[in-house]
């Protein structure tokens, strides 16, 4: 089945900088913005861009993500000639099988999948960004440039630049240098981790890279520098608009809070729907004594207490007399009577016991930070979890 473009979504990352939140779940499966999981954004972008064949490369704790994605029907990605394919590492005859060593190795190990579709182009996506992008426009630019590789770039501030892969362009607009997380960046054009390659070209580089024992088998560290070194035609695709990496606790919290701002990402645009596989629950119920303001809340929630400037995923319960402010509550979390949650991220199905306090408002100190409670935790009655704490397991004793 010949395809013009197949997308490969790298969803195997652990997301180790999200600590407790991703201990039992791959980062792309993380609930986001009340209604979504992070992976909804690249999957919806694919569907909206007319890409109907998506390989999802999983490795780290994939069970929830696999069951969430299912057949891809929620994103209309279950078409007859294409579809959504979960691609875990696998064994071949006579081999012991191995984990994906790096991002490029994940694609290398699935060359067989891509060969089934024999695409002209391969779109490489990552599962940790919040954005809306028309990949078909990026593909058109790639074709116009007769490029071998096109990298989506976004302008960042010079201070931030050292966190990203940074590109330098020559006078013709071609990429002439790419540096992963440079100490002293010489450009503010950051890679968004979204690549389009001409498949024949990439395939050859993947095969060569796999044979190189020195290589980390990573796109940013190995494949792209090797292609640049060989003088391949590499171009930027300039992206403007909302784009956030949600790989850290702070950036994850910030991006969720952006859902409350009207000037961040427009999710009401019917021409570019971000779809999700919604849980099947009743509408949200707001009780007689509830006070809700400046917040987003999702179906299945029951709110009897106070919720301010917060983002609540489905089936969250805020009991009478409980208070939630500047916090992110994941599906099924419960805040019991008299408890107070501020500046915190509360994992799925975690219960904050009666009268407990979790997190606190910024006090200007260096050590302040957002408090995080992982999933399935029980914070006991009256307990106090300080600002910037990270809770992995139900605390046994009073803190």
């Amino acid at each position: 089945m010949k395809k013009e473009c197949v997308a490969m979504l790298l969803a195997g990352g652990q997301g180790s900088r999200l600590y407790a939140l991703t201990r039992d779940m791959a980062k792309p499966g993380m609930p986001f913005g009340g209604k979504y999981r992070i992976v909804d954004f690249p999957l919806s972008n694919c569907a909206n861009s007319g890409i109907d064949t998506v390989g999802v490369l999983t490795q780290y704790k994939p069970l929830q993500l696999n069951s969430y994605i299912g057949s891809g029907a929620a994103w209309d990605l279950d078409s007859i000639d294409g579809g959504t394919f979960i691609l875990p590492p696998y064994q071949s005859a006579g081999e012991s099988g191995q984990w994906f060593k790096g991002t490029a190795d994940a694609i290398y190990q699935n060359i067989g999948f891509l060969d089934l579709y024999d695409p002209e182009y391969v779109l490489i996506l990552s599962g940790d960004h919040i954005y809306k992008m028309d990949y078909s426009d990026m593909l058109a630019v790639h074709q116009r440039n007769e490029a071998d590789c096109t990298i989506a770039v976004i302008q960042v501030s010079m201070e931030e630049a050292s966190r990203f892969g940074i590109m330098t362009l020559d006078e013709t607009g071609r990429i002439c240098r790419f540096t992963e997380k440079p100490k002293k960046p010489d450009s503010d054009l950051a890679s968004m981790g979204i690549y389009i390659f001409s498949w024949k070209k990439l395939r050859a580089y993947l095969v060569a890279d796999a044979a190189d024992p020195e290589s980390d088998n990573d796109f940013g560290k190995n494949i792209i520098p090797k292609m640049l070194g060989a003088g391949e035609r590499m171009f930027p695709y300039f992206f403007q608009g909302y784009w956030r990496d949600v790989g850290t606790i702070d950036s994850f919290w910030d991006a969720n809070m952006d859902m409350l701002a009207s000037d961040s990402i427009d999710l009401y645009d019917p021409s570019w729907p971000i779809r999700s596989s919604s849980p099947k629950t009743v509408p949200q119920f707001i009780g007689s004594d509830a006070a809700v303001s400046h917040s987003v809340i999702t179906e299945g929630c029951e709110i009897y207490g106070k919720v301010e400037s917060s983002v609540l995923s489905s089936s969250v319960i805020v009991e009478p007399g409980a208070e939630v402010e500047y916090s992110i509550l994941m599906p099924g979390a419960r805040v019991c009577s008299g408890a107070k949650v501020s500046y915190a991220i509360i994992g799925e199905n975690t219960v904050i016991g009666r009268g407990a306090t979790v997190g606190g408002a910024p006090d200007g100190s260096e050590s302040w930070g957002v408090t995080t409670c992982g999933p399935d935790i029980r914070v006991g009655e009256g307990m106090s979890i300080p600002a910037h704490a990270m809770v992995y397991d139900s605390p046994e004793v009073e803190m």
Binding site: G34, K35, M259, P273, I274, V282, S288, S295, V296, E299
Partner: protein, 371 residues
């Protein structure tokens, strides 16, 4: 998987539904923020393992067909069986009016019932019933009680019910009563029946020969006179057959009562409905929402009390809504004041609009109005 074939009547649109029933049948009435009434029938059958369901429709079924599509949401999109949309064939009956009664509706699906159904039993019910019935227990009861027909009834008054059964000493119905207005004696029928398909075909055959159109007054009455034993299966949760505008209004507002809501939305028998992509609902800085159900995709800036707000609704700043049911994608302008209003889908209401109905007679704004 079981040996029961579901039949849902979705052709009714009672005149008392007035404006909300003008463009849709009772089964397609939007309910509780995100559902349509037929979701209860289809979800209930799904949980009972019924894998073949025929939906009898006659006219005004556009919104129903859009909602049902292939039946995927209720696990009814199957290679074998699944959902069967039984619209009129438009041959001999094309010029006739609305089906007079259940028998006429079933008669229109005669060849389907006679030739296409392989299951031994059929489960008949109305699509405008608002109740979460444990149909697995119902089917099990029928298989064990040895009766010819098992009927579901309630102990308390069921709005919209027009028939009731008087229980006899052995637990089967000794008598069926029918009334036109208000409730009477006996246990109100929810108009759900489980019986052998062969018996149903006999009842249809007799009705055809005697030119009878009604299920209860004619076919069931006759069958009972002939000694047919009707066992009663009691449903104790919330139930309403939604047949009037006022009942529709109250059924929605009833869902603000948590006991009633929990009786309909039972975790082990989830009510499934067609998915729609909506963002989470945003509550503005000055919004004030009390005792209300709100679906996803809304933006609420105003005051909302005792309301059911469906998906994609916008309520402007300073607006005040009390005891209202606002259907999908309506826009209520800033500083509008609404009391006891049902706003049908896609209504655009200007700022400062003041509208009010009453508990007994809600004011209904037709679909797509610009006011």
């Amino acid at each position: 998987m079981n040996n029961v074939h579901g039949i849902v009547y979705a052709y009714h649109s009672f005149p008392e539904l007035k404006t909300v029933g003008a463009h849709r049948t009772g089964a397609a009435l939007p309910f509780c923020g995100r559902y349509r009434l037929i979701d209860f029938a289809l979800s209930g059958m799904m949980h009972a393992g019924v894998r073949n369901v025929g939906v009898i429709m006659q006219r005004g079924y556009l919104s129903l067909i859009e909602h049902l599509a292939g039946g995927r949401c209720w696990n009814l999109e199957r290679h074998t069986g699944g959902l069967h949309l039984l619209a009129p064939f438009g041959l001999s009956d094309a010029s006739k009016g609305v089906y007079e009664g259940g028998i006429e509706a079933l008669g229109a699906a005669w060849s389907y019932l006679n030739d296409d159904i392989r299951e031994e039993y059929v489960l008949l019910m109305r699509g405008d019933l608002c109740a979460n019935i444990d149909m697995r227990a119902l089917i099990d009861a029928h298989l064990q009680n040895g009766a010819d027909i098992t009927a579901v009834c309630a102990r308390t008054d069921v709005p919209g019910s027009r028939h009731s059964f008087v229980p006899g000493p052995d637990g089967t119905a000794s008598e069926m009563l029918s009334w036109q207005n208000g409730s009477g004696a006996g246990h109100p029928s929810l108009e759900i029946y489980v019986l052998r398909r062969a018996l149903l075909m006999d009842m249809l055959q007799w009705s055809r020969e005697h030119n009878r159109l009604h299920f209860h007054q004619d076919a069931l009455n006759h069958a009972m006179e002939q000694g047919c034993r009707v066992a009663l299966f009691e449903h104790s949760g919330y139930a309403m057959l939604v047949t009037s505008e006022t009942d529709y209004f109250h059924a929605n507002l009833d869902m603000l009562d948590s006991a009633k809501r929990r009786s309909l939305f039972v975790p082990e028998r989830r009510v499934l409905t067609r998915a729609r992509s909506d963002v989470a609902t945003y509550y503005g800085d000055h919004s004030c929402v009390k005792n209300s159900l709100v679906a996803d995709g809304c933006r609420i800036e105003g005051k909302v009390e005792n309301c059911v707000i469906f998906r994609g609704v916008t309520i402007g700043a300073g607006a005040e809504l009390r005891n209202c049911v606002i259907l999908n994608d309506s826009v209520i302008g800033a500083n509008a004041r609404l009391r006891c209003v049902i706003s049908d889908k896609n209504v655009m209401m200007s700022p400062y609009m003041e509208l009010s109905g009453s508990e007994r007679l809600p004011l209904v704004i037709p679909k797509g109005s610009r006011i």
